[in-house]
């Protein structure tokens, strides 16, 4: 990337951090989902010794995991289930949310605030602009997801130490999620937003349209919670692969549609 593209990324980050509309959800949602909820779990696990394993069908769900829960106390079981089954799916909401908010600000925001045409009068080509905007949005979204995971890891490992006497995060599943699935899903969210930017005229329009991309993750979450579809390592790897292919296809199509006549 050239200097002008870095200037574009720098400007986009500055705009995102200076707008409450974008910055507040980026801060609050990860804090609630990946910090406050696990913290509540760690504190609450000691009081719910017989709660979770007593749930209807929970025993059958545990069987699907083989030896994972053998020999664990009820509190340890509850924490293991949450950290390895529920939070991975919950976490996937973070990069999608970041990508859609930052992407809406970066792509649709330019259109809404009539600044896109200003950029078109500069020597930066539309393709360079597209690459800079995609790279900047993916970078910020992924870094936000990583920062969220770091905070999640701190809470889970500190809390988990009291129950397990060892570090419980990250394991192989989380590593696949962090370094394989998350970058892919971030790019997917951004590519989706670029497509949306050709149709949406305001930040709110774009946000409403972006709800569609959250649906598969909600379904995944439901699948996890009901035990219908449990994410193990091979499935996660496969999901990452499918997402990577979708990324390439969507980005190609999005860049073809990123032309002045559709944007102005």
């Amino acid at each position: 990337m050239n200097k002008a593209q870095w200037a574009m990324i720098h400007k986009d980050i500055k705009e995102i951090t200076s707008s409450y509309q974008t910055f507040v959800p980026l801060l609050v949602v990860p804090l609630i989902i990946m910090v406050m909820m696990p913290a509540a779990l760690m504190i609450g696990a000691q009081y719910g010794q017989s709660g979770l394993p007593g749930l209807n069908g929970f025993d059958q769900m545990l069987v699907a995991f083989g030896d994972l829960f053998v020999g664990l106390t009820p509190a340890q079981t509850m924490i293991t289930v949450a950290v390895n089954i529920f939070f991975p799916a919950m976490f996937l909401l973070i990069p999608v949310m970041c990508a859609s908010i930052i992407g809406a600000s970066s792509f649709v925001g330019e259109k809404e605030h009539k600044t896109l045409e200003s950029l078109m009068y500069t020597p930066l080509t539309l393709r360079e602009m597209f690459v800079a905007k995609v790279a900047g949005t993916v970078l910020v979204s992924y870094l936000t997801a990583l920062a969220t995971l770091f905070a999640f890891g701190l809470v889970v490992d500190i809390g988990g130490w009291f129950y397990f006497g060892r570090l419980i995060f990250p394991n192989l599943k989380w590593l696949i999620l962090i370094f394989w699935v998350t970058p892919g899903i971030t790019v997917l969210g951004v590519a989706f937003m670029v497509r949306v930017s050709a149709k949406a005229n305001t930040f709110q329009d774009a946000q409403q349209m972006s709800a569609f991309i959250v649906l598969p993750i909600i379904l995944l979450l439901v699948g996890q919670a009901t035990g219908l579809f449990l994410l193990d390592e091979p499935i996660l790897f496969g999901i990452g692969l499918v997402i990577a292919v979708l990324d390439v296809l969507l980005l190609r199509s999005a860049s073809r549609g990123y032309v002045p006549e559709k944007l102005l």
Binding site: A7, S19, T115, E117, M120, Y121, P123, L264
Partner: protein, 316 residues
């Protein structure tokens, strides 16, 4: 040297809308070209096209010899654009806006800061340079946009209503600055405006657009000559005879096109000898407003002129 060359350019949007049709003109370097026409005439499309943002569907255009379609990046280095459809970043400060656009133009930091300081001072924005643009008034935003357009020292300046929203003093300063750029640095100005009085004050060359077609192009004198170079004799009185080509003039009088003083003298003599009473007789040379409307609606020029004068002299 020609700063802008447009040859048989046409533009039809994907939606099927015909925005430009067979438009040709050449603007020499150092001219202030007034591109005049009502909304929807194709002015914005032409500005976008000459800056390589849109591609023509017919014909060819170049800026300082550079093909606007194939060499758009180089054209952007040469051109500065101020248009109401290209806004500044409101969440950034005035100075941050200039720094950002300076970087996009490949300027080094030292040059950006020095140019920005000079332009902010010229636009009387120095004390507001660290305020976010969302706190700026309309006039301040317009001055910042002009500073942004001039930042990289363009050779061709595209200005869309540069003085709208400015107070008279700021407007005069901007006009003086544009004049200075043209005289001292040979900058070519492509001015789109609805304010015909302003265009008449500043422009040296004109193009009249209507529904995507160029109705007239040239200097004021050339355009006037093409329309017959008519001077009008406005008469007010009683028992005036019906004169050939006479049109209604507001206030109860009539306006007659005349060629020269001899014809005026003859008309007046005929009226007086024929028993007519004259209270007022004056010759009116066309201004830009009259000339413009004569190209847009040549057959109804007389009536339109009187109506438009009462409206204050702005194009629709």
């Amino acid at each position: 040297m020609q700063a802008i060359t447009v040859e048989k350019v046409g533009k039809v949007y994907q939606s099927g809308t015909k925005a430009l049709s067979d438009v040709s003109f050449e603007i020499p370097q150092g001219e202030v070209f007034g591109f005049l026409g009502p909304n929807g005439a194709g002015k914005t499309t032409m500005v976008r096209l000459l800056n390589g943002i849109l591609n023509p569907t017919a014909g060819h255009a170049s800026v300082h010899g550079l093909d606007v379609t194939k060499q758009a990046g180089e054209v952007h280095h040469l051109c500065g654009v101020l248009t109401e459809t290209a806004a500044p970043y409101e969440s950034l400060t005035g100075l941050e806006n200039l720094k950002f656009f300076g970087r996009l133009h490949g300027m080094d930091e030292k040059r950006i800061l020095s140019r920005a300081a000079g332009l902010l001072q010229a636009m009387e924005l120095t004390e507001h340079r660290d305020k976010k643009v969302k706190a700026y008034s309309t006039g301040m935003k317009k001055r910042l946009l002009l500073a942004r357009a001039l930042l990289h020292e363009p050779k061709v300046l595209f200005l869309d209503e540069p003085t709208s929203g400015l107070d008279p003093e700021a407007s005069a300063n901007v006009t003086a600055m544009i004049g200075g750029l043209v005289k001292q640095e040979g900058v070519t100005v492509f001015l789109c405006t609805h304010q015909l009085k302003y265009a008449e004050e500043i422009c040296t060359l004109y193009g009249f657009m209507q529904q995507g077609e160029l109705m007239g192009f040239g200097t004021f004198e050339e355009l006037l000559a093409r329309q017959g170079g008519r001077t009008r004799l406005v008469l007010r009185g009683e028992n005036l005879p019906v004169l050939a080509g006479a049109e209604y003039a507001s206030g109860g009088g009539m306006a007659v096109p005349v060629r020269d003083d001899a014809e005026v003298s003859e008309i007046l003599r005929n009226i007086l000898t024929g028993g007519g009473q004259l209270y007022e007789a004056r010759q009116e040379r066309w201004g830009l407003e009259e000339l413009y409307f004569s190209y847009r609606e040549p057959k109804s020029i007389g009536l339109k002129l009187e109506g438009k004068k009462e409206e204050g002299g702005e194009v629709a």
